[in-house]
């Protein structure tokens, strides 16, 4: 099943990127999670019509990608598959908001288009940094970072198990789905009834697998507790990283840098 297969490949490749060895990769996961959160909060705190103040924020993802050696095209491609819901809702902004906010001679740009552009820019920034976070940290490390930042252990375990078995189950369902497709000869065989029983079968097999895993866990002495054996260090470089980037974002948020630079430039060349 093409889409399952490519989705899983995406998962694997993004997670594989986290095995790199740059300075960014070596930072403790908690630092990277915190910086990403500050970034996102700053970006979304702008009001509707603010577009150009968002531009300096691109420095963060760009620097991260370069320093960590992440493949730019790959990240870009993933970002372009933006959540369709955002586009569907955002496109109504120009429809409902036709108040002209900027006049360039005869040419007027309505608030709706500005806010739509702002929405798109925010999407790229927020989604891009989420990808970069996984690309330089890895899913497992992110989960462990969240756990040490207060996430309940049960949920952390759930995330790790889920991630572990996504690959196994997508393969299984991919095979079943392909078999169903091959015997479908057009859409007739792909209706809800065949979906229901195929998924039902998969569900039962999944249930049995869960029982086997539980047996394997018991066989190795599991009594309900997961023991931590990971040591992580939040040292000087981490503190520097968090403080430097956070203050930078807050500075950008409070000071419209695009405005400053622009006034400088247009002031010099009237």
């Amino acid at each position: 099943m093409a889409s399952i297969h490519s989705a899983v490949l995406d998962l694997k490749s993004l997670d594989l990127l986290a095995n790199g060895n740059s300075t960014i990769h070596r930072l403790d996961a908690r630092a990277k999670v915190l910086v990403t959160l500050v970034f996102i909060l700053c970006v979304v705190s702008y009001s509707r019509y603010e577009l150009t103040p968002l531009f300096p924020f691109f420095i963060f993802p760009v620097v991260m990608i370069s320093l960590a050696g992440l493949p730019t095209l790959f990240i870009l491609k993933k970002i372009t598959l933006l959540c369709p819901f955002v586009l569907a809702v955002g496109i109504f902004n120009p429809v409902f908001d036709r108040e002209i906010l900027i006049q360039f001679g005869h040419f007027g740009i309505s608030g709706g288009w500005i806010s739509f552009a702002s929405i798109l820019t925010r999407s790229v920034l927020t989604v891009g940094t989420a990808f970069i976070l996984v690309g330089v940290t890895g899913f497992t490390a992110v989960c462990q970072a969240l756990e040490s930042l207060g996430m309940p252990k049960v949920f952390a375990v759930q995330l790790l198990f889920l991630y572990r078995y996504i690959f196994v189950l997508t393969e299984e369902s991919g095979r079943a789905s392909r078999a169903r497709e091959l015997r479908s000869c057009g859409k007739k065989g792909q209706g809800i009834h065949s979906f229901g029983s195929m998924v039902g079968h998969l569900l039962l097999r999944t249930w049995q697998r869960a029982e086997r895993i539980h047996t394997a866990m018991l066989a190795r002495g599991f009594t309900g507790e997961f023991h931590a054996n990971r040591l992580s260090r939040f040292g000087v470089s981490e503190v520097r990283f968090v403080l430097a980037w956070s203050s930078f974002f807050i500075f950008l948020r409070l000071q419209n840098v695009s405005q400053l630079l622009g006034s400088l430039v247009t002031g010099l060349f009237p």
């Binding site: 702008y46 900027i102 198990f161 979906f195 998924v199 309900g224 622009g262």
Partner: protein
């Protein structure tokens, strides 16, 4: 119907995150205490199963378009509300991190919208009530249908609330609701039918699975607690909405005040109300509106009396002078913005070149 960061304000996003995180913590405690540890691999594996199942298409009758399973209700039926909520949340986390499904701030909204309503409202109050203790095929179909529809309607409504209270989208509340609710009614019907199909299959093949799922949930013992939970969640959402109202829309309040008090009295009370609102705003919402002020202030050397300046700040589109100066500031902003973008990419390019010269390999 996944919320996205780009449509959220920090206040709403934060409020929803608080609601979701609180529910996750609560469910984690319940799972740890009440449910036997064989549930642990089951939750993980069923989560992966739902994740995989969501990628399989089926054709919807009549329309011929393809549909996908949501799965929240199925998880609630198989795992009970607490474990199901955690499982749904975990699937959404993976989707947010790997598939651009909205973003990290919106994750709080999505976990709540897609997890809370199926697990804590649709399942206990609709599905189980219809099923009773005799899961016949007819009852399974009816229960799944109504529970799925209800869950999705509530979730969709929450999305409408979150979007409109964030103030980034310009969609009016009624229009948005008028679009979302019917669409999700259709989606809910499909989800209900598919859920019924899967659940009946499982029930026929291994009824003991359904039995153990039905028996293991302690929720029946404390219905009041769940209602309270629901109200707490609604309160948090409304709280977020309130903080929006105060923080990003003082002009809405102001406008109704002008209507009431009349233009002449604009100065006095308006100043007073606006000042108080501003003070409140600064206390509740940390960052909004600052650059709005800055933009107006950067208007090139036009001296405007204070009252109209206030008015200008909040209604720039009504004041021609303001829109002119805002055009000027916008040009400056655009120029500056392009420069910063260019600078950002230049920095990135230089860094990449440096990195390529001193290569660092991947760990084996």
């Amino acid at each position: 119907m996944h919320m996205a960061d780009a449509l959220l304000s920090p206040a709403v996003g934060g409020a929803m995150w608080a609601a979701s995180a609180g529910t996750i913590a609560y469910c984690s405690g319940k799972v740890r205490k009440d449910i036997d540890d064989s549930k642990i691999p089951l939750m993980g594996v069923l989560g992966a199963f739902i994740f995989a199942a969501q990628m399989i298409n089926f054709t919807i009758p009549v329309t011929g378009s393809s549909g996908h399973l949501g799965g929240g209700l199925i998880l609630a039926i198989l795992l009970g509300p607490y474990a199901a909520f955690l499982t749904i949340a975990s699937v959404l986390v993976v989707q947010a991190l790997f598939f651009a499904d909205g973003g990290l701030l919106a994750l709080g909204c999505n976990i709540f919208n897609l997890g809370f309503f199926p697990a804590f409202i649709a399942y206990p109050f609709i599905y189980k009530k219809i099923i009773g203790n005799q899961p016949t095929t007819g009852r399974i179909s009816a229960a799944s249908l109504f529970a799925a529809i209800a869950g999705l309607q509530m979730g969709a409504f929450c999305v409408v609330l979150e979007t409109t209270s964030s103030g980034i989208s310009s969609l009016p509340f009624t229009t948005f609701a008028a679009m979302m609710q019917p669409i999700h009614l259709a989606i809910g019907i499909i989800e209900g039918i598919v859920t019924a199909s899967v659940v009946s299959f499982v029930y026929k093949a291994r009824p003991e699975i359904m039995q153990s799922a039905l028996e293991s949930r302690p929720i029946g013992i404390h219905p009041v607690r769940n209602i309270l939970l629901a109200f707490l969640a609604m309160a948090v959402v409304t709280g977020g909405a309130f903080s929006w109202f105060v923080s990003t829309n003082p002009d809405g309040l102001e406008w109704s005040i002008t209507k009431v008090t009349g233009h002449e009295a604009l100065n006095g009370p308006e100043q007073g109300v606006h000042a108080t609102l501003k003070a409140l705003q600064e206390k509740i919402a940390f960052l909004p509106d600052y650059s709005f002020r800055k933009t107006a202030e950067a208007a090139k050397g036009v001296s405007i009396p204070e009252a109209t300046q206030e008015h200008q700040k909040t209604h720039p589109e009504q004041n021609p002078k303001a829109s002119q100066s805002s055009a000027e500031t916008s040009i400056a902003g655009l120029a500056g913005g392009t420069i910063t973008l260019g600078l950002a990419f230049l920095i990135g390019y230089i860094l990449k070149r440096r990195n390529q010269r001193t290569p660092h390999g991947f760990n084996t």
